[in-house]
């Protein structure tokens, strides 16, 4: 069942000569883990903003086409209504944490929507568990590491029990350890709890390892859409656009790999692949 349906969606920022998104059509099923990648300026963030209601409510612009969440168009919904359907996590871990205490931060969104304290308590302990940070509950948000801050932000988004978890470059300001922490949590949420994850990300290494489907945007258009191995098999095209290919995949591509079994996406898969290659 499609949870998100985008039909012929085109968007132009006010005063911009060219549209930032051109005729995008796609559908995401419940429980998918979708990675959205592309070079800088391809329209990834714009697409994310269209999904969580920042566009057109917060930033203006001119949109045609449809975006449907759970069968309903999102354009006549307020951001507060959309916030219950799409949980958003942004790039800057510092700017999206509003309170000085983790517990209060988790309660913020629920307070805004007017939940009863008993329900808040239930959801807060639940999402702390989901994000793997029950030990951070009573910590101050100021002393947290970048990875911890982003996991708090994920927990905050989950507290609204959204249909989709949407992340816009959640790891761009994190070190490799923090990046891995965030993707581990996303993977677990997706696999064990069936949460639909949409993540905009330039780090293709992580996408290849964790996402079940990858979308590539270039100059506002959706140019590729498929399983990671299908996308990363088109290495020449990706290089022309300026999308980084995971190192192991690149190596295998040079060695002549081109299908699901001969195109490793992680170091572990590459180890098996090379072992087989050496033996044969």
């Amino acid at each position: 069942m499609a949870i998100l349906e985008i039909k012929n969606f085109t968007f132009r920022y006010p005063q911009a000569a060219r549209p930032a998104l051109k005729d995008i059509s796609l559908s995401v099923a419940k429980g998918e883990f979708v990675g959205i990648t592309g070079p800088t300026g391809a329209g990834k963030t714009t697409l994310a903003c269209c999904l969580n209601g920042i566009i057109p409510h917060f930033q203006g612009g001119e949109a045609t086409g449809r975006i449907e969440l759970d069968g309903l168009s999102i354009f006549n919904k307020s951001t507060a209504q959309i916030s219950r359907l799409v949980g958003s996590v942004f790039q800057d871990p510092e700017a999206q944490i509003i309170s000085s205490e983790v517990e209060q931060e988790l309660a913020f969104g629920l307070e805004n929507l007017g939940f009863a304290p008993v329900e808040m308590e239930k959801r807060i302990s639940e999402v702390l568990e989901l994000a793997g940070i029950p030990d951070l509950r009573h910590r101050s948000t100021i002393g947290l590491s970048g990875g911890q801050k982003q996991r708090v932000a994920i927990a905050c988004a989950l507290a609204m029990r959204p249909e989709i978890l949407l992340l816009d470059e959640p790891t761009s300001e994190l070190d490799p350890v923090g990046t891995e922490e965030v993707f581990q949590v996303l993977s677990r949420l997706n696999h064990e709890h069936g949460i639909t994850v949409l993540v905009v990300e330039q780090k293709t290494e992580q996408l290849a390892a964790h996402a079940g489907r990858i979308l590539v945007l270039d100059d506002g258009a959706l140019v590729m859409d498929g399983e990671p191995w299908q996308v990363f098999a088109r290495q020449r095209e990706l290089q022309a656009i300026g999308v980084k290919i995971p190192q192991v995949t690149k190596l295998a591509g040079m060695l002549g790999g081109s299908d699901k079994y001969s195109l490793p996406l992680t170091v572990e898969q590459a180890r098996i692949y090379i072992e087989r290659l050496v033996r044969s």
Binding site: V86, F90, A95, A107, F108, G114, P117
Partner: protein, 263 residues
Amino acid sequence: MAAAVEYIQKDSPVHRLNAATKIFWALFTLACGLLFNDYRYLLGLLASVLLVAAAGRVLKNLLPAITGLSVFALILLLIQALFYDQGQVIFHLIPQTSYLPVTNYGILSGVAMAARMLSLVLSFLVLLATTRIQDMVLTMVEKFKMPYDYAFMFMTTLRFIPTFLGEVRQITDAQKARGHAVEGFNPFKKIRSYAPVTVPLVLISLNKAENMAMAMETRGYGGGRRTYFKEPKMRGADYLLTAVLLLLLVLGVTARVKGLGVM
């Protein structure tokens, strides 16, 4: 001294009290401090404030502040003793002359002034040390009907101070690494040399503010009626203490009207 004004997380009877009760207590102390000018009353008031600090287990944390304030208290005492010439002369500051007489009333009114200053400032320090800012702000919203937007603004400002201090450090380092020097004794030059730090800081702040607004937007801020996760509740002890303080205040005013506690 700066550290003394922060909230100190501890479990004590004073910490458990409602913020409203503690705010009322600080205002009560302020009222009593202004009502009386007898040194005995004011010393008693100071002792009561210290007792509350001890009950809140923050006396030790406030010690640096108390030491700092004592210096001012001493200066107050000296000034008062020097320039108050009523009462019996005990001695002259310049011996064998009649210049700068120090009188018994002068010393006592100096003690009163010092005790008053100490109790007023300390009561607010105890309030700040034992009450979370959030609780205080929530009390403002709940009890004094301050709009939540203002309360939110205030809390967010406090939240972002460390973030911006970190930004300042980073920008300063970056500019230093590129050979920019903040130096010289000429104040105008010094101000101008801060521009390479200030301009990026303002731009970064604007950017952060916009990002924060987006994050708030996607979490339903301003979406209608708000609830509160931890509404500070007034409990038995709070009602009792408020009643006792109110009674004491009435007694104090009556005493003052009858001429007690005035030198």
